[in-house]
């Protein structure tokens, strides 16, 4: 909430940006507007017909005429209803269409952003940006037109009828109350805003606390802290009660006052109008008309005044969405535009880092410093080093998630910055510590858009001993992956992510601590799978397992972002340097 105020652009520029989206729907808007005018007209005619009924038929005693007039009125009510309904549905469809397009657009754009953007935003915030902010915008499309425009037409029309057909003075008395109400509503909204915000925050506070307690219930019980946490809930919940109570009293006061103003209007009309009837200046029917008008007159105004906050929310949401859409996407060819993208020759590839320097932002420390090494084609290199030494960053650079500030990364001598990201990433098989699944079947999660025959998939999975596991699932490869893949064991999930990498037939494999969460039994299977996986490929492996590291063709030892040693296990042990020391301390 608070973040929005800093960058809130003017409302006008927001509207200007939104206009192009509305343009394709001009026809729908025009139709809706026509329907709206018709139904508003029908609404306004109602009281007029009543006046006619009283003055022309009931008072003189003409029932036939009354029946005909009311019959016509019934038709009008039905037509007005149909027009009103069609208009609302039409606008709802257009509004929802716009929202849906906006969501799709925002999401597609979001996926194109640099990883850096995702580092700064929590997933929850991004989800809320796309879902909640887009929905908040709907108010602008549908409510503005139906309610503001519609009610404006009705109010103005009524005033016109009252003033010109009946009595200007009486009309002015009624309308005179309007600005009063609007000003009161504006003040009330401004005044309530901070309370509203506090109440919303407090709600989040209470909900957060309860969630935290439920998640940590075992800890609370073992440490005997139940009473203390109950006291905390009591405090927060009671504070929420206080805020909510104040809000409900304020809201009730405001709306009841509005109703009282309506009574005031009725009294005014009866007082002045009654006198005019007595003096023969106004018919009884006209007095009834004024009284009915008052009722229809105040409802839209009350509604409008309750919508101020919604509009403000919608505008804030719009500016947040535009902020997202304004984020620059990952640029295709960044640094080396003079070097046109060559097609990548078939692998295997020699991988070279040449004087690479990298930091996440200009004011932070270097994460990688002057990193240079060559990993020959087909070789398997292990990367070791304590937490924070830059191992994962090295991989992110190779994937082109980030670009180094200095230096080059080369595949067979070609700077990876000149290779389109898609081409580059298609050659790299990445297996991460955390296994990620997308909604859909296991087959879909394995293939991730590749087109392979079922036999091919089964054969590959069999190589890593996974075919059997998948076949045992209720629907085999078509089994839906449940939320967070809870229907699979940790080991199976990790194996699936290996399978996913393997199916791409990547030229370079990158494993980022891919086995650290796994129990040893599953790890044995994974070790076997790795043999299959690595055969004939260049590989970079971040690992804790001794066996993996010892079997590697070479070891890169990183410390504080610098390459301090490289060589085979036996060479490094002989050298009695950092690696050997780490080994004796069981640090790897």
């Amino acid at each position: 909430m608070s973040e929005t105020h800093a960058t809130l652009p003017s409302d006008r520029s927001l509207v200007q940006r939104m206009l192009p989206w509305l343009r394709p729907h001009t026809g729908s808007f025009a139709l809706a507007l026509g329907l709206l005018l018709f139904s508003s007209g029908a609404k306004m005619l109602g009281p007029v017909i009543l006046q006619q009924a009283v003055d022309r038929y009931i008072v003189p005693g003409n029932f036939g005429g009354l029946a005909r007039l009311l019959g016509a009125y019934a038709v009008l009510v039905v037509l007005g209803f149909v027009a009103n309904y069609l208009e609302i549905i039409r606008l709802e469809q257009v509004g929802q269409r716009l929202i849906a397009d906006l969501k799709q657009r925002a999401f597609a754009h979001l996926l194109k952003l640099e990883l850096r953007y995702f580092d700064q935003q929590s997933t929850g915030k991004l989800v809320s940006r796309i879902e909640n902010d887009a929905n908040a915008l709907k108010v602008l499309f549908s409510t503005v037109i139906t309610n503001i425009l519609g009610n404006f037409v009705v109010v103005l029309g009524m005033f016109g009828i009252m003033a010109w057909q009946y009595d200007l003075r009486l009309a002015v008395y009624i309308v005179g109350l309007c600005p009063l109400i609007l000003i009161a509503a504006l003040l009330f909204n401004r005044w309530m805003k901070s309370l509203l915000l506090r109440a919303r925050k407090q709600l989040a506070e209470v909900n957060g606390l309860i969630t935290e307690i439920i998640q940590g219930i075992a800890t609370i019980q073992i440490f005997g802290q139940q009473q203390r946490f109950i006291a905390r809930v009591d405090r927060e919940s009671h504070y929420k009660y206080g805020l909510d109570s104040r809000m409900t009293v304020f809201f009730n006061s405001f709306f009841n006052s509005l109703f009282f103003v309506q009574t005031l209007g009725v009294a005014l009309v009866l007082w002045f109008g009654g006198q005019m009837v007595m003096q023969g200046q106004l018919s009884v029917g006209s007095l009834i008309l004024f009284m009915v008008f008052i009722r229809t007159f105040f409802v839209p105004i009350m509604f409008l005044s309750s919508q101020f906050n919604e509009f403000q929310k919608a505008l804030a949401a719009a500016s947040r969405l535009f902020d997202l859409l304004d984020q620059p996407a990952e640029s295709e060819v960044s640094a080396t535009e003079n070097n046109p993208a060559p097609s990548l020759p078939p692998g295997p590839y020699t991988l070279e880092f040449k004087g690479v320097w990298f930091r996440y932002s200009p004011d932070s420390d270097w994460v990688l410093q002057d990193l240079s090494f060559v990993c020959p084609a087909g070789a398997h290199w292990a990367v070791v080093g304590p937490t924070g030494s830059g191992k994962s960053t090295l991989i992110s650079l190779l994937m082109r998630f980030y670009e180094p500030q200095q230096g080059q990364i080369l595949l067979n001598g070609i700077d990876i910055r000149s290779i389109p990201r898609q081409t580059l990433r298609a050659q790299l098989g990445l297996v991460l510590q955390d296994v990620i699944f997308f909604p859909g079947s296991i087959a879909r999660n394995l293939l991730l858009g590749q087109e392979l025959s079922e036999a091919e998939v089964q054969q590959t999975m069999a190589q890593i001993g996974l075919d059997e596991v998948i076949q045992r699932l209720p629907q085999g490869y078509q089994t839906e992956v449940q939320e967070g893949a809870r229907n699979l064991s940790e080991g199976e999930r990790q194996l699936l992510s290996f399978g996913r990498a393997l199916l791409r037939k990547p030229q370079i494999l990158i494993l980022d601590e891919a086995t650290s969460h796994i129990d040893p039994q599953s790890e044995a299977r994974i070790q076997q799978a790795m043999q299959t996986l690595l055969a004939g490929r260049t590989a970079l492996i971040i690992a804790h397992r001794l066996s993996t590291i010892e079997q590697a063709d070479g070891i890169l030892v990183l410390q504080y972002g610098r390459l301090v040693e490289q060589g085979s296990h036996s060479e490094l042990m002989k050298a009695r340097g950092v690696y050997a020391e780490m080994r004796t301390l069981q640090m790897v």
């Binding site: 009283v54 194109k112 019980q221 009660y241 006052s257 304590p386």
Partner: protein, 592 residues
């Protein structure tokens, strides 16, 4: 809710079809005790609501008088002023009394929300682990947050009931005056109004159905977004941006159709009310007009009737709403009672013993436990003060389950655990638990400073804190935190690494120098060097401690005095590392 249902709660929740009648009675029965302490408020609402209604219902009778007299010749401006002032006066009284009634109702809704939440929280915080195995976090949260809220149960508890009361009074009041004016015309208007209430109930059900579907669409969209955005690295690495966008478009499209369908029924419902009133007005003018022409009623009567029609529409809606919301409320009450009625299994016996002084011996004797399948079978082993016993085995072997039984988070279904020859249940529960330090697999941190998370409500001095920090190897991290020990962590605090969370939890467990320390694979995110330093420091910190540890690390197993190797809930072998190194499963698990 049965276990099967809560386990598959990713599926759309289908509210139990409680029969509205029995459900309503049960709901009111559940609510009554909450009303009892509020007798004053209850009487206020019962007594003042009729007054507020009366002041409102009276007004059309005065308007009627004005219109009737306007047509006569004996009317004077002074008389008119009198009547207008009477209307104003009644209007003001209605304003004042109704404001009071509405505010009391609103505040009482909030009061109930708070009261329900506190009562449920008190119950929930004492519930045993089996409850939390059965009900997922999200499910429990929904009951404590959503079901009891001032929009659902809280609203129904006061506003729901008293709006019905008000509606009935309103209807009685209107009908009373209308019958006095003309019984035949009254009957003619009452009919379509009854229809309005029925129409409301029927179409609200449909609206409810569609709005549940739209809620489902929203939660589908959210879970799609969450899982995709969490996996952004994989997505990019596998060049799946375009496909993910397409898949998302399909999800959005689905939501679009659900929303439009909802709008179609909801706006039909909304538009209908004012049209009902208009059609009612039409009927009144037709029939009433005839009566006026025939001289049976006056024009003023007709105008009063017309006013009553408009007054009667909303009470009809309120009656309908009472049943709709009542149904929702009874579903909520059922869900809440499920939590309340859950047996509190683990309690302290009335004459519980204090914990014995001196060395402790812990004996597991033929401990068994089963969920759907046997999880522990006849597990026996012992540990005593000064010993470190490690539990080893593959995932699902039952290691964590055994650990949970030591602080009695879970009781064995058969067999027993003895502490110095007496069952654990013989000891005072809080004494037992406060003698233990427990660190779970996934450490729980709470929204508070690091200091508060470690002290965790216990009053200990700075020296103890520093010592715990040192042993838990947390000292090295402190300079990284902006405000040191005062740095806020938890949901609103800074992001911590897995290892830092684990070490905070370890410090929390160590600070009161526990006699029994239980570590459930809680060093997995520590690098080997840090872990080695931790073990060294631990042994000099409390030499005579009884340590139970679950670990996957060979180095930790080597440090243990004894290893209990479990396979599918059974003890396969016991011994120290060298003894077990010939055991095939142990070899396969740890030495391959």
């Amino acid at each position: 809710m049965q276990q099967t249902q809560s386990l598959s709660s990713s599926a759309p929740r289908t509210p139990k079809k409680a029969s509205a009648h029995g459900g309503l009675q049960a709901t009111l029965g559940w609510l009554w005790p909450f009303w009892q302490p509020l007798r004053w408020r209850l009487s206020f609402l019962i007594l003042v609501t009729p007054l507020a209604v009366l002041f409102d219902v009276w007004v059309p009778m005065i308007t009627r008088g004005i219109f009737d007299q306007l047509q006569g010749s004996s009317f004077t401006p002074a008389l008119l002023r009198q009547q207008v002032l009477l209307i104003l006066g009644l209007g003001f009284l209605h304003f004042a009394f109704y404001l009071l009634v509405q505010s009391v109702r609103g505040v009482t809704n909030m009061h109930f929300e708070n009261a329900f939440r506190m009562r449920l929280s008190r119950v929930m915080i004492q519930l045993g682990q089996t409850f939390f195995y059965r009900f997922r976090t999200g499910d429990v949260t929904t009951r404590l947050i959503d079901d009891i809220s001032e929009k659902k149960l809280g609203w129904f508890a006061c506003s729901g009931i008293f709006r019905l009361y008000e509606a009935l009074l309103m209807i009685c009041g209107c009908l009373f005056f209308m019958t006095r004016l003309n019984p035949a015309l009254t009957l003619m208007t009452a009919l379509p109004l009854g229809f309005t209430a029925l129409f409301y109930v029927r179409s609200s059900r449909r609206t409810l159905h569609y709005s549940e579907q739209s809620q489902q669409a929203i939660s589908n969209l959210n879970s799609y977004l969450t899982s995709t955005l969490d996996g952004i690295r994989v997505l990019k690495a596998y060049d799946q941006e375009a496909r993910a966008s397409d898949a998302f478009a399909a999800v959005v499209e689905q939501q679009y159709h659900k929303e439009v369908a909802l709008a179609k029924v909801a706006s039909l419902l909304q538009l209908s009310y004012s049209r009902f009133a208009e059609l009612g007005m039409l009927l009144i003018f037709l029939a009433g007009g005839w009566l006026v022409i025939q001289g049976h009623i006056s024009l003023g009567d007709l105008i009063a009737f017309n006013a009553y029609i408009f007054m009667l529409i909303w009470p009809m809606v309120d009656i309908g709403q009472f049943f709709i919301k009542g149904r929702q409320a009874s579903v909520s009450v059922e869900r809440v009672r499920e939590l309340e009625d859950y047996p509190a299994e683990i309690t302290s016996a009335p004459e519980a013993l204090p914990l014995p002084e001196g060395p402790l011996q812990l004996h597991f004797e033929r401990v068994s436990y089963r969920f759907e399948r046997p999880a522990l079978q006849q597990v026996s082993f012992a540990a005593r003060s000064g010993e470190t016993v490690a539990l080893a085995g593959a995932i699902g072997a039952g290691k964590s389950l055994l650990l949970d039984m030591v602080p009695r988070m879970l009781e064995p279904q058969s067999g027993q655990i003895l502490l110095n020859q007496k069952p654990l249940s013989a000891y005072n529960l809080s004494a037992l638990r406060s003698s233990m330090g427990f660190v779970s697999q996934t450490p729980s941190l709470f929204s508070a400073s690091i200091r508060e998370n470690i002290l965790f409500g216990r009053e200990l001095d700075e020296a103890a804190l520093q010592e715990a920090l040192a042993v838990a190897q947390l000292e090295q991290d402190l300079p990284q935190f902006q405000d040191g020990l005062e740095t806020l962590v938890g949901q609103r605090g800074v992001k911590l690494s897995g290892g830092q969370k684990q070490r905070i939890a370890i410090a929390r467990a160590l600070i009161q120098r526990p006699r029994i320390l239980i570590l459930d694979d809680c060093t997995s995110a520590l690098d080997a060097e840090t872990e080695a330093r931790f073990w060294q420091a631990l042994h000099s910190f409390v030499p005579g401690m009884l340590v139970l540890v679950v670990t996957h690390r060979v180095r930790t197993l080597q440090r243990a005095d004894r290893i209990v190797l479990l396979q599918q809930g059974e003890v396969l072998a016991t011994g120290h590392h060298e003894e077990l190194s010939q055991q095939p499963l142990y070899q396969q698990l740890y030495l391959s």
